[in-house]
Amino acid sequence: MLGFAQLGVSMPSFWIAILLILLFSLTLHWFPAGGFPGWGGGIGPALHALVLPALALAVPEAAILARVTRTAVLDTLGEDHVRTARAKGVGRTAVLLRHALPNALIPVATVLGLQISFLLAGAVVVENVFTLPGLGRLLYQAIGQRDLIVVQGVVVLLALFVVVVSALVDIACALADPRPKGVSS
């Protein structure tokens, strides 16, 4: 399990994308190797074209979150309230799900927020692997044409997005924290 997570963290998303094309497009013919039919042709074909790009970005993300969750849960397992719960006779699974997981989710959410920026950067590359007409592809083409105004605009827009998402994650963390408010631990 941990080995799988280690592998997932180590593989760059654009290589996963190429391997997915190799397996699902060239060998199995399940999904298109690239391009985007647009939303005009209905939601079905559009989503069908987005399966592989989404998967390429999701695999490293899942591996990172698995590692963070593991560390966070291990950290909370050492805390007093977990020992108390075990001592009063709560089963292992119940302790894990009800007592350890809620506390462990805070660092997970924080990392998720930080990862948004890496996901966006990853999307720039993966969009180019699959030739998807997104912001990343626009950015790449603008560089090729030395269209600095477009490059600047896209980068500032993406940076704005990162800032807004970070702020939202901070607020969500404060709301989700199971520890009593106003008490320092």
Partner: protein, 275 residues
Amino acid sequence: MRRQLPLSLHLGAVLTLLLVAMALLSLLWTPYPAEQVRVIARLKPPSAAHWLGTDHFGRDVLSMIMVGARNSLAVGAAAVGLGLLGGVPLGLLAAGLGRWGDEVVARLGDLVFAFPAVLTAILLTAALGAGAINVVVALALFNAAVLARVTRGAALAVWPRPFVGAALALGRGPLSVTLVHVLPNIAGIIVVQATVLFAVAIVNEAALSYLGLGIQPPSPSWGKMLGDAQTYLFTAPLQAVFPGVAIALCVMGLTMLGDGLRDWLDPRHRSSGVM
């Protein structure tokens, strides 16, 4: 009792050393010159003559991967080295200066973090032209921000400890206290972070070279090789596998090294006996 070295530390160190050895070997010897073009032998599958086959110009893939290791490690080392030079003093300064300096460094960090490293690199290459130097600058900027933040956090945890107060009471100046008492106590944390950033830098360099913005041809790079291989996915699918394996092994070695070092230095991360 001697502390047991974690398994990940062993595996990570071995993997990393192997890659470094391969990169160093490429300085002296490669099976073929990495930039030798032989169109007659293009896109060949692996054979006895070319262990990993040849690319669309007939260049030997094994030789290119070996030189690519050198390029990737050099970019990563430069990005992390410059990041350390810039970030660690800033972090120490922020922790030592107190509220005002702290605030300035933290906001500067926020500014850098708003732009993902790859985006900064893209912006820089768009403005100044593609090339390894600009990639190094962009990645070093990001690394410096991360390292400044980590250093500051760790140093702030050391400052209130009694031996720091004692040293100050004995008349040592803040600079000397920082260098003699604070820095040695947080060096471990910084080294672990630097190892992880090294791995991140290698992935980012590969991504930028894949886009054609990083290391420029004819100098081989793992990312560029993947980009080229994608064009010939139908005829030579294996060429899209080998450079990726090299990247994955490199990153895996470095992250395992970082994890192992952290477990070794920080006993808290070893699994507790509660559950």
